[in-house]
């Protein structure tokens, strides 16, 4: 009986569910089950409210109705047990839930190694599941996505069963049943069903987070109660019969006319792609990269060996150049092993955009491009937060509500593009929306209010837009749940800068806003300037250097109690003698005998005195280890071309440390 009501709700047929509920109510009252009657009538009231209010704009009456139906079901169970006489309307298709103890019982000792694998694997599957479901929502006839989601849940179910995570297994099992019906075309793919499955994915995600937390030795907390969810899944699945009848009668969104060969053809292809990848311990990878670096050094030593240089045999020369070619190829490959495509990150954003659009009542379509662009795994992980913030910003501030868009002659559905490509050794990521654009007047006004723009100064467009990255800067009139508290964009900028990247913003009123991120491909390698001080050699990361110069003797002034300063194109910069900071002997006694490296930190420029410039080199950053944790001004070590270790300077720390030394 409640199944009938549920089916009706699922099919979006409010009238019919109202009818069924009315029947339930009167039957229950007649059979003497006051609670059942009461639940039915309250659900009836909610439904008719939803019906009169119109379902269109509201986020889906699903939640309260499902709760109501659950209560109804409980009442029904009570009625069953109480009188042993089922009220008219047929037996319940959902058998009464066995009572489960609140805490998930701890089974036999689980192998932490297996559990860790389970967590890692399940997370991967859930990420894939989510993107498959979103694709399925866009295109309900997409059998490949349906299969991918099914496979994901199926694997999780198997793993969870093996490890005796009963709650996880049950949820995965119900989803599997539901998706299987959809696969066999006994069930159409509706947004409501996708909602339920997404909810199940969220449940699994939360449960897996708990499992992960328990790996640190803490006891595993009880999983959340999954009965409501299980029941919703079952209801969504039992509506199948109804569905296929409807499908027979009228055109129904689903697998109408789609041949069964489609899925079977695509499934093996996807499966083999999964099997081609293997998991490798990062320690092994690091070791490989270390050894390849050493090989390059050994190779270069061999090439510059004076004894070999005397030997002019063409055969030897050929062999040497062959060796050098292979070496650089191996190096490139080894470095590339850490690279992953950015597509995984983009796919994660799909869910965020969908949920945010619903929450704000806007229509947003996410378009991605350049998913195959590769970059360091570490950067991909650290990019997730900044990109999420920017997308949030675009949806909340950029994209207009549908009415406003229609009034402005735009497509009511907003469009956000997430694109990535490589450009001159960097990765460029663009996030653009076709919304209303940044409000220049309001930003200027806020900037003046906060004293960021001095009175009488008209900042350039770029300067103006950069104000949005100031801490606490917000032009939102009201604080929404999504954004507008003025936290976010400054954090975005800070994160990007920490990854040695840049963020730019461009905007056209009424046309939209584009954020452009430029990042290095990897955090493991930097372009460095090798400089010498006395007998020591140091590496200065190029990104922190503004310029290098040899000062003339009269451009250097010494202020009492302050130290040396140098005049560079009209501005006075403090001079920091690196040898004094690091307590080494320098050759240059006066700045004019050495070289000044000019750097900038938070808008303040300063210069660092070194003896000489030796060359430019791409180096792999290596940690110096715990012993040198407290050393200030050193960012790490790197192996130089001759196999010696060079220290990588942290110019900002050297500058900041000035006062204390």
């Amino acid at each position: 009986m409640e199944a009938l009501a549920m089916q009706a709700v699922l099919a979006g047929d409010l009238d019919r569910s109202l009818n069924v509920l009315q029947q339930v109510e009167s039957e229950a009252a007649r059979a003497g089950h006051p609670r059942l009657a009461q639940e039915a009538s309250s659900l009836l009231a909610q439904l008719s409210q939803a019906a009169s209010g119109g379902q269109g704009g509201s986020p889906s009456p699903w939640e309260f109705i499902s709760e109501g139906v659950l209560r109804l079901q409980q009442a029904l169970e009570e009625a069953h047990h109480g009188s042993a006489v089922a009220p008219a309307g047929g037996p319940s298709p959902a058998p009464p839930e066995p009572e489960r103890p609140a805490a998930e019982s701890q089974p036999l000792a689980r192998d932490p190694e297996l559990v860790r694998d389970f967590v890692v694997e399940s997370r991967e599957h859930l990420a894939n599941i989510e993107s498959s479901l979103l694709a399925l929502e866009q295109d309900p006839a997409n059998a490949e996505s349906l299969h991918a989601a099914f496979r994901g849940f199926h694997t999780i179910k198997g793993l969870a069963g093996f490890l005796e995570f009963a709650a996880i297994q049950e949820v995965a099992h119900e989803v599997e049943t539901l998706l299987d019906l959809a696969r066999n075309q006994q069930l159409s793919v509706t947004p409501e069903r996708i909602d339920v499955v997404l909810k199940a994915a969220d449940y699994l995600k939360a449960a897996i987070r708990q499992v992960d937390a328990s790996l640190d030795g803490r006891p595993l907390e009880a999983f959340a109660d999954n009965r409501n969810l299980l029941w919703m899944l079952r209801m969504a699945a039992t509506a199948a019969a109804e569905d296929s009848q409807a499908a027979a009668g009228a055109a129904q969104p689903g697998f109408d006319g789609r041949p069964a060969s489609g899925p079977s053809a695509s499934a093996p292809a996807a499966g083999s792609a999964e099997n081609r990848a293997i998991k490798v311990d990062t320690e092994k990878l690091d070791h490989l990269v270390d050894m390849v670096g050493e090989m390059v050094i050994a190779q270069s030593m061999l090439r510059h060996d004076p004894d070999l240089a005397l030997n002019r045999s063409p055969r030897l020369q050929r062999t040497l150049s062959l060796l050098s070619g292979i070496t650089s190829d191996v190096q490139k490959t080894a470095m590339g092993l850490r690279m992953v495509t950015i597509g995984t990150l983009f796919r994660r954003m799909g869910r965020l955009v969908r949920d945010l659009a619903r929450k704000t009542g806007k229509q947003v379509e996410l378009v991605t491009a350049g998913e195959e662009t590769e970059l360091d795994r570490q950067i991909v992980e650290e990019l997730a937060d900044p990109i999420m913030h920017m997308l949030r910003n675009s949806i909340d501030h950029g994209i207009e509500p549908p009415e406003e868009r229609t009034a402005a002659g735009k497509d009511p559905c907003g469009r956000i593009t997430l694109a990535a490509h490589h450009q001159s050794g960097q990765i460029v990521i663009q996030i653009s929306d076709d919304g209303r654009g940044l409000n220049r007047e309001k930003i200027l006004q806020r900037g003046r209010e906060r004293g960021l723009v001095p009175p009488g100064v008209t900042p350039s467009e770029a300067e103006l837009y950069n104000l949005i990255f100031e801490p606490g800067f917000s032009t939102a009139e009201r604080v929404t749940e999504v954004s507008g508290r003025g936290v976010g964009m400054d954090v975005v900028k800070k994160n990007i800068v920490r990854m040695r990247g840049k963020v730019e913003v461009a905007s056209q009123p009424g046309q939209g806003t584009t954020f452009t991120l430029k990042l290095p491909l990897t955090l493991a390698i930097i372009d460095g300037l090798v400089v010498g001080v006395g007998t020591q050699r140091y590496i200065i990361p190029i990104y922190s250097v503004v310029e290098m110069l040899c000062p003339s003797r009269d451009s250097v002034t010494t202020a009492p109690e302050q130290g040396e300063m140098v005049l560079v194109r009209g501005s006075l910069l403090p001079v920091i003698r690196l040898n004094e900071r690091f307590g080494v002997e320098a050759r240059a006694q006066h700045p004019s005998e050495g070289l000044l490296v000019v750097a900038e930190q938070e808008g303040k420029r300063f210069s660092v005195l070194v003896d000489e410039f030796i060359g430019k080199q791409e180096v792999v950053i290596k940690s110096l280890g715990p012993m040198f944790r407290h050393v200030r001004g050193i960012a790490g070590g790197a192996i130089l071309g001759d196999g010696r270790v060079g220290l990588i300077l942290d110019l900002e720390a050297i500058f900041a440390w000035k006062g204390e030394a």
Binding site: H287, V289, D290, M291, G293, E294, Q536, R537, R581, F582, G583, V584, K622, S623, L624, G625, P626, M627, F628, H630, V631, R632, G633, I634, G637, I639, G643, R644, V645, G646, L647
Partner: protein
């Protein structure tokens, strides 16, 4: 009371010595012969150019490249408060694996020269004599009596983890008499 127990139960004495018995790598430092457990030794290399790291204690010579890994190097002479000596052909860096926190790390120690690998039985090893006035040195495993003389057994984990090593100075000065 402590001695009484040991006499009554000779097995305890053997057990205690047993974990110290085994193979040791002997090396010189000034006038003394020291030895560390071979199990801790990864490799021995000649002195190579060491990159100095600022703001470190004087006994930390800096870092070297060990086949692509950057590892710290400690001059054991300076660590033990002995006078600094110029590095010669005989000077070696012994790469040892020491436990650090939860994991292990590689570290180089500079010594005057490596002599040999010796096998010590429990009978060869004696506890460090008590010098009175409560001087206890945590990184001394004991003393080994060999044909060539007495060797000081070091617990290298302790040596490289303790900040204050000047106590050894006192021990060494006394032992020379």
């Amino acid at each position: 009371m402590q001695t009484g127990t040991v006499e009554l139960n000779p097995a305890a004495q053997t057990d205690k010595s047993d974990h110290r018995a085994g193979k040791y790598l002997a090396f010189q430092l000034g006038q003394e012969e020291f030895a560390i457990q071979v199990l801790k030794v990864r490799e021995i290399m000649g002195v190579q150019e060491i990159t100095a790291v600022p703001q470190t204690p004087h006994y930390v010579k800096g870092v070297i490249n060990l086949r692509g890994k950057v590892i710290p190097v400690v001059d054991l002479r300076l660590k033990f408060g002995l006078p600094e000596a110029a590095y010669t052909q005989r000077t070696c860096i012994i790469v040892v694996q020491v436990s650090h926190g939860s994991g292990n790390m590689l570290m180089g120690i500079v010594v005057d020269g490596v002599s040999e690998v010796i096998t010590l039985t429990a009978a060869d090893i004696e506890d460090t004599p008590d010098f009175g006035h409560g001087v206890t040195v945590p990184y001394l495993l004991g003393m080994a009596k060999t044909k060539e003389g007495v060797k000081i057994l070091l617990d290298i984990d302790q040596v490289l983890s303790t900040q204050e090593v000047h106590k050894l100075e006192a021990v060494l000065q006394k032992s020379e008499f």
